[in-house]
Structure formats: C-alpha cells, structure tokens
C-alpha cells in the first residue's frame, strides 16, 4: 500500500486523516464535505481564533476488509477535537445517512475534549443529536463502534457518546470520562483529583481500567493495525439496541456499583476483580494484559 504502514503507525501520534487512511482498505476512503469545500466554523472568528477547513472532523465512506463502512475521525489537535456547530453537524449527518444506507458498520474515531466552549450550545445540542442518531442507527441493525486512543482522549459529552456506541476499542493512551481531571480539580480541589498525577488519571479513566471493568470491549496496542483488528472483531459481535440489552446493562452497572462503590482507587477495583497483582497492571504489555482480562468476568458482556 502507498499509505503509512498501519503496523507501525502510532494511533496516539497520528492525525485523524492518517488514522482513517491507514485503518481502512487502501484507497477506499471517500470524504464527504471535505476541506476543499471550506465549511468552517462561523463562530470562531468572533473569538479571534483560527479555523480549520474541516472543522476538526473527517467524515465519509470506505471499506474495511471489503465491507462498506461509514467513518468519522475527530482531530484532537484542532480545538481539542471538541464539538462545534459544523463539527457536530458533520457527524450527525453521517449517522442519519447510515439509517437508510445500512453500511456494515459506522466507525467513530473519538478524540475529543467534549463541547467546544466558544460554540457551547451548538456543541451540546449536537452531542444530543449524535446520541439520538446512534440509537437509530443501532436500532436499524448497524453496529456503531467507537475507537479511542488519541491525544485528546474522550471527555465530556464525548464520554456519553462512547457509552452510546455498540462497542468500544481503547488503547493505553485512551482515556474515557465525563468530567476530565482538570475539571474535577478546578471544581472540587486537588485533594479530590490531582490532575497532574498522570498515573492516577490512567488508573481512574485510562484504557486498561475501562477494559477491566467492562467499560470498553477491546484493548489495543497503540497501532492502527491493532485498532483495525479490534474493529473487525467488534463489528461481528455487536449487541442489539433493545430492552434486553439495556436491562442487562442496568444489571451490569448496578452490580459494578455494589461491588466497587467503596473503592478509592483503580487498583482496589482490580484487586476485587480478581487480578492477582493489581500494581503490575499499568506496566503490563498487551499480551499479558489480555490474559489478565480473560480471567475477569466483568470484562466480557453484551450489555451496552
């Protein structure tokens, strides 16, 4: 292939376009409303901020192992991948099209701090529209798979979108939460959350913690090929969007709070999950970590 080697391309370091090009079958991607159309934010000039021709998200269609997929990739390096009006409209349009178009899957490469504050009301509403559209796509029988391992993580409303997807793949660098570390620290103080303690951030909202408790369904190396393999597996194994699934999710999340509600730290949760050496988890490579996950009952479920 002419593009970057997907086995070596770091998901964390790559741009949204690099991820997407290397993830899909070579040359199969066709963008919708691409940068040449210059649909930029109408609001950022008010704040004297630079704009991007694609408003920080790339959307379109392509093929994954020969199957048609719709795909969106957020660019975490532009405004932290946050949802503005145009950015959100592109994702919503793609999802709405999937209800009729019925691709084999919709892939969302989440890399976002949440709502873009300069366009806060538009971003917040777009997140709500995105979640409604994901529910409709899933109900139409199309899996929606989120892939999370970028610089900006997956915070705020992005975390809620992640929880709405059929399946999630995450890497070590991927973080999923609603309130980010800085937000908690700003509002509740450094005693509640020291945002500079990177190890604490990972133990609380990092990829391994999310995978162990069942908050994500696959753990990936930081390569595009690892995410590609995970996406293919997850597409083939996506839960339906129905009462049985949500009943099961209700039971799963209730049980989690009952079992781990008193825990102060990720390592305490992992110990209760039966991980032999919780302190060793952060340093585990993917193979050893996957073996650990395989012994944890909570990590495998159809309840999302």
């Amino acid at each position: 292939m002419a593009g970057p080697d997907r086995d070596r391309l770091s998901w964390y370091e790559a741009s949204a376009r690099q991820r997407l090009d290397a993830l899909l079958d070579p040359g199969s991607f066709t963008e919708a409303l691409g940068p040449e159309e210059r649909r930029m934010s109408p609001h950022l000039p008010l704040f004297d901020l630079p704009r991007a021709f694609d408003d920080g998200i790339v959307v379109g269609t392509g093929q994954l192992n020969g199957k048609p997929v719709y795909i969106a990739a957020q660019e975490g390096r532009f405004m932290g991948g946050a949802f503005g009006e145009v950015h959100g409209g592109k994702l919503v349009g793609l999802l709405r099209a999937a209800v009729e178009g019925k691709p084999a899957a919709v892939l969302i490469l989440l890399d976002t701090g949440g709502v873009r504050l300069q366009e806060a009301n538009a971003g917040e509403t777009a997140i709500a529209e995105t979640m409604r559209a994901i529910a409709e796509v899933r109900a139409a029988g199309v899996p929606v798979v989120g892939l999370i391992g970028g610089r900006a993580g997956c915070f705020g409303g992005g975390g809620l979108i992640a929880g709405t997807c059929s399946r999630l793949a995450v890497s070590e660098g991927g973080r999923i939460s609603v309130s980010g570390p800085e937000v908690i620290e700003t509002n509740k103080g450094a005693e509640e959350f020291d945002s500079k303690d990177r190890a604490l951030v990972w133990r609380t909202m990092g990829g391994k913690h999310r995978r162990l408790i069942g908050g994500a369904d696959a753990f990936c190396d930081d390569t595009v090929s690892s995410f590609r393999t995970a996406a293919l597996t997850l597409i083939a194994d996506a839960p339906a969007f129905d009462l049985a699934t949500l009943d099961a999710e209700q039971a799963r999340l209730r049980k989690r709070i009952e079992r781990f509600g008193e825990c102060r730290d990720g390592t305490e949760v992992w110990a209760k999950l039966g991980v032999n050496d919780p302190d060793a988890v952060p340093a585990m490579d993917t193979r050893v970590f996957d073996e650990t996950v395989a012994r944890v009952e909570e990590a495998v479920h159809d309840a999302r």
């Binding site: 409303l33 409209g89 592109k90 178009g101 709502v115 009301n121 979640m131 309130s179």
Partner: protein
C-alpha cells in the same frame, strides 16, 4: 415554578410523584391513562447511582408496555464531579439513562422534557436533551458552562464575553440561547394549566429530530442543519451510485 406547583398543575386530581435524594419518580393520571414522571430536583448533581435509578424507572415503563408518556422534569446541577463517579464509569451510567429514554421513545412512549430550573453539561445531555421534545418554563436556566468558567478556558475577559453574549446565542448560557439553538422546543405558559400544554406537545411530537432545523430557523445554530444534510446527501448519493 416549583416542582410542587408543576405537579399540582399537571395532576389536579392528585398524583404519586415523590422526590428522594433529589431524584423525581412516580406517576399521575393523565388524559385517559397515566403520565410517568422522572427527573432531578433541587439543583442536584447527577451521579452514577442517580442515573441508574432513573434509568431503572424508564426501563420499568418500557417493560410495562403501555406506551404511557414519560415526562422528564429537570432542575439539576451538572454531572456529579468526583473521582469516584469517574472510577465507576459515570459516562456509561449517563449514556445508559439517555439510551433508556431513547429506547422508550422508539417503543412508543412519548418522551417530553420539562426544564424548570438549572441543568448543565452531562446531566443535561442524559436527561432533558434525551427526550423527543424538550419544553421549558420561564426562569429555566440551562447552560453548558457558566461565563466565568468560559472566560477562564477561553482566556477572554469576562466583560467582553458578557458583551458578546448579548448578540451571540451560540455560546452563552440561558434559556433564550438554548431556545435559539433548537435544543428547547417551546416555552410553556406558567399561568395556564400545564396538563393541556403537555398534551398538545405530545399530540404534535416531531417525527424526526428537528432541533437543527429549529436552530436554523431561530438563528441560534445557523449552519448545522445544512451541514448535516450536505453530508447525508453526499453519502447517500454515493450508495445509490454504487
């Protein structure tokens, strides 16, 4: 209006709606059936337990299969901001609540939001914004983030932001601005009985998600609908073209 006033206006014959730890649940007689009510009262932050409690009520309603309407009454804080909530997967719990409401809607339960106080951020998305149609009462105060916090993040002086907020609904907190973006469908009249107003909203439920169209019409979100349609048409045309 207070929650008690709202409930009295909705259910003149009485009701069985209660509030515990800031969470609203229950039902009352409505039209020829019943109206279920869930929600958050008293500017309460929504954490993992609260989200699951509310979702449980919604799933019970779906299981009952009576297609009774569900009112989501909201006067909340933002999501509960804590290390524990995030450790336990608050994103999953809030998304689960939103999904329960979206499922109820799909299964024939009209879902109506009623914003009568504050709401913000993740709590707003998981409750009021996950309904088919969101109404508000005068005095409601939705926000994504308050202006002093926006000033801190954007590094713009607060007085400049306050000046900008007067002409630009897209970033500033407040009911008028959320109405302009299309997130809030309508503002109800607190001086008239609420039951008929809610009934009328249910009778005219939008078939599709109309929030971006409303935002375009009202000028609060000038381009979102056109952007979404451009993308959808481009993608659909491609599929048709093979």
């Amino acid at each position: 209006m207070t929650l008690a006033e709202i409930l009295a206006s909705l259910f003149p014959e009485g009701h069985a709606v209660t509030v515990a730890d800031g969470l609203i649940s229950g039902e009352g007689p409505f039209e020829r059936g019943r109206l279920r009510v869930i929600g958050v009262d008293g500017d309460t932050p929504l954490g993992v337990e609260g989200a699951l409690d509310l979702a449980g009520h919604v799933l019970d309603a779906v299981r009952a299969g009576d297609q009774a309407p569900i009112l989501v009454a909201v006067d909340s804080d933002s999501q509960r901001m804590s290390r524990r909530d995030e450790l336990l997967g608050l994103n999953e719990c809030l998304a689960h609540l939103a999904k329960a409401l979206l499922l109820a809607d799909r299964r024939g339960h009209p879902t109506v939001g009623l914003l009568y106080g504050h709401s913000a951020a993740g709590a707003f998305i998981a409750t009021a914004l996950a309904t088919r149609v969101l109404a508000a009462l005068p005095g409601a105060d939705p926000s994504v983030m308050d202006l002093p916090s926006v000033a801190r993040v954007t590094k713009l002086p607060l007085d400049k932001l306050q000046e900008m907020a007067k002409s630009t609904p897209v970033f500033a907190p407040g009911l008028d601005n959320m109405l302009a973006t299309g997130a809030v469908h309508a503002v109800l009249d607190p001086h008239k009985p609420l039951a008929p107003q809610i009934r009328d909203l249910i009778a005219a439920l939008p078939e599709r998600d109309e929030r971006d169209r409303l935002g375009q019409e009202r000028g609060g979100r000038p381009v979102a609908q056109a952007v979404a349609e451009s993308v959808a048409q481009a993608v659909a045309g491609r599929v048709r073209g093979g």
